[in-house]
């Protein structure tokens, strides 16, 4: 089963990368970019076939490793077929 985990910075947490990218877009001539926030995307392939179990495992992985829950949020998405 395939899944995606999105990890994004919590609101209010400074995102120096996003800020630098905003600036770069501006100097490349893209106007009207109000803000850019950068996050991470993990594409995971699991042996598990049960969606509920897969989701539970992915939540665990996010909490334990993939996201730094002090500053980041995460969201799990399963490719349901």
């Amino acid at each position: 089963m395939k899944a995606r985990i999105k990890v994004t910075l919590k609101n209010g947490v400074l995102d120096p990368q996003g800020k630098a990218i905003e600036g770069a877009l501006g100097s490349l001539g893209f106007s009207g970019v109000a803000s850019v926030r950068q996050g991470k995307l993990f594409e995971v392939e699991l042996a598990e076939t049960d969606p509920a179990k897969a989701r539970a495992a992915l939540e665990e992985m996010s909490k334990k490793l993939l996201a730094n829950t002090v500053i980041e949020n995460y969201a799990v998405e399963l490719d349901e077929k």
Partner: protein
């Protein structure tokens, strides 16, 4: 020899590079601000080490799209020598002046230490003062030095002698393909490498072996 060092926001080895060039060439290099659109008249353009734009997005990515870059590409087209060290190498790859990309170190950590460099091709403008196969010690200091390119490009680089320097003796610090430490463009006038020859030029540094790299360019443009 006239040289110019390009400074981006976040460059941080520009002072090391300026000093090395001045010591070795006897002429004070020009410092070029990234926002400029023109280069001074020069024999060598150097993109120095550092964390241009914080290394944010991808290392070298934002700098590679800076105002000064078209002028550097044009100079390279005219045959002016262009040297990219560390972040400079990363910028040259992102700008398409060199093929491939420098990815995160295989160990996922920044690494600062001395490695052994083997001169893979001593017949270039940047290595001619070394012997072919010569091994010299040089520091590296980077988090993204893991050279990667597609198999075809790799084959071409190897076949055309465009790998200038390789990590020797199992000292590859970053997982680079084929132990690649430095590569040339097709024409041989653009060279990018991850190690820091500018920090290996006087007894204080433990050896002066990095000088030969600059002296090679000096001889090439003479």
């Amino acid at each position: 020899m006239k040289s110019a060092v390009v400074v981006f926001p976040g460059s941080n080895r520009e002072r090391d590079m300026l000093r090395a060039l001045e010591t070795i060439t006897g002429t004070r290099p020009a410092a070029v601000w990234h926002a400029d659109r023109d280069l001074p008249d020069t024999d060598l353009v150097v993109l120095c080490g550092g964390f241009s734009y914080g290394d944010y997005l991808r290392t070298g990515a934002i700098a590679a799209r800076g105002n000064i870059m078209p002028a550097i590409a044009k100079a390279a087209d005219r045959g002016v020598r262009v040297l990219g060290v560390c972040n400079g190498f990363q910028i040259l790859c992102e700008a398409g002046l060199l093929p491939g990309v420098l990815m995160r170190n295989a160990g996922l950590k920044f690494v600062c230490k001395h490695v052994d460099l083997e001169v893979a091709n001593a017949d270039t403008d940047f290595t001619r003062k070394y012997e072919a196969g010569q091994v010299w010690r040089c520091p590296v200091a980077h988090g993204d030095g893991n050279y990667f390119t597609d198999p075809e490009t790799l084959k071409r680089l190897e076949g055309e002698g465009r790998v200038g320097l390789r990590y020797a003796h199992g000292t590859n610090p970053n997982g680079s393909l084929n132990d690649i430490a430095g590569i040339l463009n097709e024409r041989g006038n653009v060279f990018g490498l991850m190690p820091h020859p500018e920090n290996m030029i006087e007894p204080l540094n433990g050896s002066t072996d990095g000088r030969a790299l600059f002296e090679s360019v000096l001889e090439a443009v003479a």
